[in-house]
Every structure is written in structure tokens, then in C-alpha cells.
């Protein structure tokens, strides 16, 4: 099965390990990975800030980059959701709306792709640690992927799972919100870190690089002994 990887700009620049784990994991599951060099950013930072028209060119570039793919897979729920959002942004546009629809139909978040398309629930991973999991807002509420990460984590050998209190609550990232409303964002991420601590887990796992960057950044600043890891890295562990 041919998978076109939409790595996301955060992974490209800051979290190469997540990209590598994604590639290795999917290859092990029998996929052939392609990475189109012309991919940039999905446009979410400026789109969410209200610069809709300014962002349209970037979106069109992304549509053209991925339009011929068999499957588009991304290790970030929020960015995968953005590909689904394009069809609404270009609503009424005779050229771009149908193209955006076509893109949305084949775009998946990584765990969703593994469970729903590859029909795999046990990727054969081993990870000897106690973990908790942050359910990212865009991934669960907007993309609607709730069960897939849990299904996959449940089957990782050696992994002890502990539920995160207040798991449905936003971590306070929200793109430019984190800097525009820094004082509120800090309180939100503090509460999130507190909840992670309460679980006693050694690792906080997530499926969205941006949320992890936010929570992880706060954990590191506070010098807490909790490690942050993307679900792709856990699933790629042996």
C-alpha cells in the first residue's frame, strides 16, 4: 500500500524523531512511503488567526502536492483535520472545492489509518513503562478520532496505561493563542501538567505534535521528571 506522508512543519523542523518513527512503523506494516518535497505547512497558524484569504495559496499548494496520493497520512490529528477543513474553506469554488473534497477523502491521522484502513490493532510494539495519554481537541472533536490511539496502545506489550483526569480539556496550545493569550494559556497548561503528574505516569503520550510541544515545554521548564513522547515513537518501540 502506498502512503504519502504529510509530515507537518513541526515534525519537519523540530520533531524529526516523530517523522522517522512514523516512516519505520508504516514500513513495518507493509506500506511504501513517499514524501513529496513540495509539502510545506497546512496553513493553520494564519488560517486560525483569521487570515483566511492570505492562507489560500498555501492550501492550494498542499492540495496540489497531495491530490494524486493513494492515502495521505499524518502523525498529527490537528493537521490532518486541516486537510478535511479545506473543502469547507473553498466551498463554492468550482475548481478547488472538488479537489479539496478529494483530498479529504483520503487523508488520515496515523492511528486512524492503522486501525481503520490497515485494519491492524496490534502493531507488535513493546514499551515497558507507565503512560498516560492526552486526547487532543482537534483530533477527537473535529476529526472524530477517539478510539484508534487507545486501541493501539492497549495492545502494546509491557505498557501500563493510566487515565488522565480531565482528559477532554484543552492543553492551552491553540496555535497563536499560546502567545496572544499567554497568561491564560499558561494557566491551562499548568492544570494539564498537574493532571499528568497526578497519574504518576512516567510518560505522557499524544498524537499531536503541537500539543506535546506545549505540554512538554511546560514540563521541561518546571523540571518535572515526566517524559513526553509521540504515539508513533511508542508504537515503533520494540
Amino acid at each position: 500500500m502506498k502512503v504519502t506522508l504529510f509530515a507537518t512543519c513541526i515534525v519537519d523542523l523540530f520533531q524529526g524523531n516523530v517523522g522517522k518513527a512514523t516512516v519505520e512503523l508504516l514500513e513495518r506494516l507493509g506500506c511504501e512511503i513517499e514524501f513529496p518535497e513540495s509539502q510545506v505547512c497546512c496553513g493553520q497558524p494564519s488560517y486560525n488567526s483569521g487570515y483566511v484569504n492570505e492562507t489560500k495559496d498555501a492550501m492550494k499548494k498542499m492540495i496540489d502536492t497531495f491530490i494524486d496520493a493513494e492515502y495521505v497520512v499524518s502523525p498529527s490529528g490537528s493537521c490532518a483535520y486541516m486537510f478535511h477543513e479545506y473543502q469547507h474553506i473553498f466551498k463554492g469554488d468550482p475548481v478547488w472545492e472538488p479537489k479539496a473534497k478529494k483530498l479529504a477523502e483520503k487523508t488520515y491521522e496515523l492511528t486512524q489509518f492503522i486501525v481503520d484502513v490497515l485494519k491492524v490493532e496490534d502493531v507488535g510494539a513493546r514499551f515497558d513503562a507507565t503512560v498516560t495519554y492526552h486526547t487532543s481537541c482537534h483530533m477527537t472533536r473535529l476529526l472524530g478520532v477517539k478510539e484508534a490511539p487507545m486501541t493501539l496502545l492497549k495492545n502494546v506489550k509491557g505498557l501500563k496505561f493510566t487515565e488522565l483526569p480531565g482528559k477532554e480539556q484543552c492543553c492551552g496550545f491553540g496555535g497563536t493563542f499560546a502567545v496572544k493569550m499567554a497568561q491564560i494559556s499558561e494557566q491551562m497548561v499548568d492544570e494539564k501538567v498537574l493532571h499528568v503528574e497526578e497519574t504518576g505516569a512516567e510518560y505522557l503520550i499524544g498524537a499531536d505534535a503541537a500539543c506535546l510541544m506545549n505540554i512538554g515545554g511546560r514540563i521541561e521548564r518546571q523540571g518535572k521528571p515526566i517524559k513526553v513522547m509521540h504515539i508513533a515513537e511508542v508504537l515503533n518501540s520494540r
Binding site: Q15, K20, C41, E168
Partner: protein, 476 residues
């Protein structure tokens, strides 16, 4: 704009909210309790999504035919002997109500909680007309006794106060001498308010849902105060936002069910009262005279536009009870009587961007509000729409942000530029980098690194790793 509360700037208000630890504890506790109650009450139905869809289709149909249903409502109210006044502005509504008060030579007015009367600042208009105004909802009464402290939640207005604070206020203002037990405080208020009910000249209520087909309207409470307000004074005035109506009793029932479950997790509240006109000829309780004031106050400019669905709102506060931002900052931070997600959408529409331009940015667009809304208002999408209007139509975005977004747009739409630009990120950031993290970032990044570390850019971009690996260097 009268829905505005206080004079502090947004950041100051937020700062005060964040520093108020009691309030934040109360809000967090309230969110958890009300959230759980709402979840149980909606899940036990088994088909909540179906209910939401029904709620939405009813609201949509009414808004699309609002002129028809308002005409039908007014005819039926008048046929039952009521007086209907259509007020395009807050001033028109207040003037009319002042006129009624004067003609009755009214000295005392008792009120049941109503957001629309807060919105038009009816209380101060009545005071100008020489009336004493008494709020009878327990929460509103507490705020009123405390020198008109503004409400911080649309369903539980005194949520930000603890029982000791309430005892102190009662002691100072009402000569209360008992403990801070909620039962004793409530009993004291009951006794005080009984006297007020019995001696009031006018009763004023809001309106949960008016019923066009019969000229009726419903009031939803747990305390029973609205019933005393509408049973004892000789004159009753009901003020409604113009969108708060339904075609018939059958749709009213559906929206009442959605409201009580979403707002307090009850199947129905203790008192749901459906009133039609003044009392009948031989009846001895209920008002002799009934006035219905229908208020536009900016709503018609929302109608027909991209924000129309906000008028679906039935004021249940479910969105407030799940909002992670409200949780941290409390109701007063919004600077409007309408707080939380619904307030952040509605306040700029009714009160203008000058006063409320920050509110659409006080959200992470997490979508929790949209998920719980019983009438399917896409709240987070409307917040995003506000941002788009602020940037693209109003041109209010800060210059530096505009430039940054322009640069971002150019970079993101040009793979070559992106590749070139990002290639140098590690070296550009190197002065700020400490091992694998950035602790003191430059520019806007500083706002991030004030409270969080930022990852240092990888020395090798993922894309370079992938390319090298394709060329045969399997392991990087």
C-alpha cells in the same frame, strides 16, 4: 453599551480573574459537577444527537420565519388582553417600561432573573423612574445586596462568591446574624423576599420561550420566584429577546427539555410556568395587566448574516460549563454580562468590536463548546469567523501580526522559499538555543518561552533525513 461590565481593560480583567483563587476553584468545581450532571442527563436519553438535531431544526425554522411568528405571537397576546410593545433599541424598551411604571405610580418592582433586562440595563432605568427594584432569584439577590456586583455566569450568577462572603454581605447590609450555612442564608433571603413579593406593584420577568400559536410564554426556574413575580403584583411586564419564540407548545416542550438537561442536568426544573395574557376576569391571583416587550437591540443585524446561528441560543450555559478558558479566568474577565464561548461570540455582535474585540481570541478553538451546544451552534467556528472579520473586513489586526502572517503565507505557499527559509532556522536560532531547547526566545517567541521551553530546531530537518535515506543511507 450596557451589557458591558466594569471599566478595566481585557488583560487587567484576565489578570484579576487568574489571581482570584477562590473564584477559580469554584468555577472548576462547578464545571465538573455541572458537566457530569449534563452528561448523565443527556446520555440517559440514548439519542441525544437526535434531540440536538431537532432543537436545531426548530430554531432554524423560527429564525427563517421570525417576522411571521412574531406577528402571530403579538396578535394572540393582544387577543388575550395583553399589551405588546416592539422595541428596536434598549432605549425604546426602557422608555416604554418607565412609562408603564409611572402610569401605575409604581414604587416597588420585583424581578425574576432575566439576561435581556441586564442587557438593556432596565434596573437603572426603573430606578430613574423612581422605583425600587428587587431581584428575586437567590443568586441575583445576593449580587444586588452586594452593591450590584455583576453576574459571572448566566445560570449561576453568584458563582464567584463563597458562602462566607455571602454571610458577610448579608450581615453588613441586611443585619443577618446567623451562620454561613446555605440553608440559613437561603431562609433569610426567603423571608426578606416574601415581604417584597407581597408589597410589590410590578413584576418583571424575562422569557424562556414564547409560543406564537397561543400568545403564551414560559418561565423556567427551580426556586419558584418567577411564579411569585407573576402571581402577586397587579402589573406584569415580560421582556423577551425577539428570537426567543417557538411555533407551538410542542416545540416549546422540546426546547425546555433541551434547556433543563443542558443547563443543570435536570429532566425538568422544579417550576416551568406557561402564562397566557393577564388573569381572567374572576381570577384573584395573577396580574390584572400584562405587557410584553419584544426587544431587537442589535439582533436584526445578526439575522440573515453569517452569524445567524448564534440566535439559536437558548441560554443554557452548557458551553460555559465546558470552556477551558472560562475555567481559568471566570465570567468577569469577559467584560460582558454574556460570558464564556456564547458571550465571546455574542458580545462583539451586540456590543461592537471596540469593546469586545479581544473576546474572539480568548479561545483555543478546541471545540468543546460546539460539542455540547443543544441547538448545534458551531460556536468555535463563529469565533474563528469573528477573527476573519476583524482581520479581513475591519482591518483591525496589529501591523506586526499582519506582516508576520503575510510572510508566513508567502513561505507556506512557496515550497522553494519554505525549504530555503527553514534550512537556516537552526543557525538563526542558535544564539537562543541551549542544548536541545530554547528557554529565552526572541520576538513573539518570548511570550511562549516566558512560561515554557521551546524545542531547538533539529540540526537535520526530517525532509533531509528522508532524502538521504532514500539515497541509500538507510540509517541516519
Amino acid at each position: 453599551m450596557s451589557m458591558k461590565i466594569g471599566e478595566d481593560k481585557f488583560k487587567e480583567r484576565v489578570g484579576k480573574g487568574i489571581d482570584n483563587t477562590f473564584m477559580r476553584g469554584a468555577v472548576a468545581g462547578a464545571q465538573e459537577r455541572m458537566g457530569t450532571r449534563r452528561e448523565n442527563a443527556t446520555e440517559e436519553l440514548g439519542n441525544w444527537e437526535e434531540w440536538r438535531s431537532h432543537g436545531e431544526e426548530i430554531r432554524k425554522h423560527v429564525l427563517e420565519n421570525l417576522d411571521f411568528y412574531l406577528e402571530q405571537l403579538s396578535e394572540n397576546v393582544a387577543a388575550r388582553g395583553g399589551h405588546v410593545f416592539f422595541a428596536q433599541t434598549a432605549a425604546e424598551a426602557n422608555e416604554y417600561i418607565q412609562g408603564v411604571a409611572k402610569s401605575k405610580n409604581a414604587k416597588k418592582v420585583v424581578k425574576a432573573k432575566s439576561m435581556v433586562t441586564e442587557e438593556i440595563s432596565l434596573n437603572s432605568a426603573l430606578q430613574q423612574a423612581g422605583c425600587e427594584v428587587i431581584e428575586t432569584d437567590l443568586g441575583e439577590y445576593i449580587l444586588q445586596v452586594d452593591d450590584h456586583d455583576p453576574p459571572s455566569h448566566i445560570v449561576v450568577p453568584a458563582l464567584h462568591k463563597n458562602k462566607e462572603q455571602i454571610r458577610d454581605v448579608f450581615a453588613e447590609k441586611l443585619g443577618y446574624q446567623k451562620t454561613s450555612k446555605p440553608e440559613e442564608l437561603a431562609l433569610h433571603a426567603r423571608q426578606k423576599l416574601r415581604e417584597e413579593f407581597m408589597s410589590a406593584d410590578i413584576g418583571i420577568t424575562g422569557c424562556n420561550f414564547a409560543v406564537a400559536e397561543t400568545g403564551s410564554f414560559s418561565l423556567v426556574t427551580n426556586e419558584g420566584n418567577a411564579d411569585l413575580v407573576t402571581s402577586l403584583p397587579k402589573t406584569q411586564i415580560t421582556v423577551m429577546g425577539m428570537e426567543r419564540l417557538v411555533p407551538t407548545f410542542e416545540e416549546m416542550e422540546v426546547l425546555v427539555s433541551l434547556l433543563t438537561r443542558s443547563s443543570v442536568g435536570q429532566k425538568l426544573t422544579s417550576y416551568i410556568t406557561v402564562l397566557t395574557g393577564p388573569r381572567e376576569e374572576l381570577e384573584t391571583d395573577g396580574p390584572e395587566e400584562f405587557h410584553l416587550v419584544i426587544v431587537d437591540n442589535g439582533r436584526s443585524s445578526i439575522l440573515g448574516g453569517e452569524f445567524q446561528s448564534v440566535l439559536n441560543c437558548i441560554r443554557c450555559a452548557a458551553c460555559i460549563n465546558v470552556c477551558p478558558v472560562y475555567r481559568q479566568v471566570g465570567g468577569h474577565s469577559y467584560g460582558s454580562i454574556y460570558s464564556g464561548p456564547i458571550g465571546a461570540v455574542l458580545s462583539p455582535l451586540l456590543g461592537g468590536y471596540d469593546e469586545f474585540k479581544e473576546l474572539p481570541y480568548a479561545t483555543t478553538l478546541c471545540g468543546a463548546c460546539t460539542e455540547v451546544c443543544p441547538v448545534k451552534i458551531p460556536l468555535h467556528e463563529l469565533l474563528h469567523k469573528h477573527r476573519q472579520v476583524i482581520v479581513e473586513k475591519e482591518g483591525r489586526a496589529p501591523f506586526a501580526e499582519k506582516m508576520a502572517m503575510k510572510a508566513f503565507g508567502m513561505g507556506a505557499s512557496s515550497p522553494a522559499l519554505y525549504k530555503l527559509g527553514t534550512k537556516f532556522v537552526p543557525s538563526v536560532m542558535s544564539p537562543f538555543t541551549d542544548g536541545d531547547k530554547i528557554s529565552k526566545g526572541p520576538g513573539p517567541l518570548k511570550l511562549w518561552t516566558d512560561s515554557r521551553d521551546f524545542p531547538a530546531p533539529n540540526k537535520e530537518r526530517f525532509r533531509d533525513w528522508f532524502k538521504n535515506r532514500d539515497k541509500g543511507g538507510k540509517e541516519s
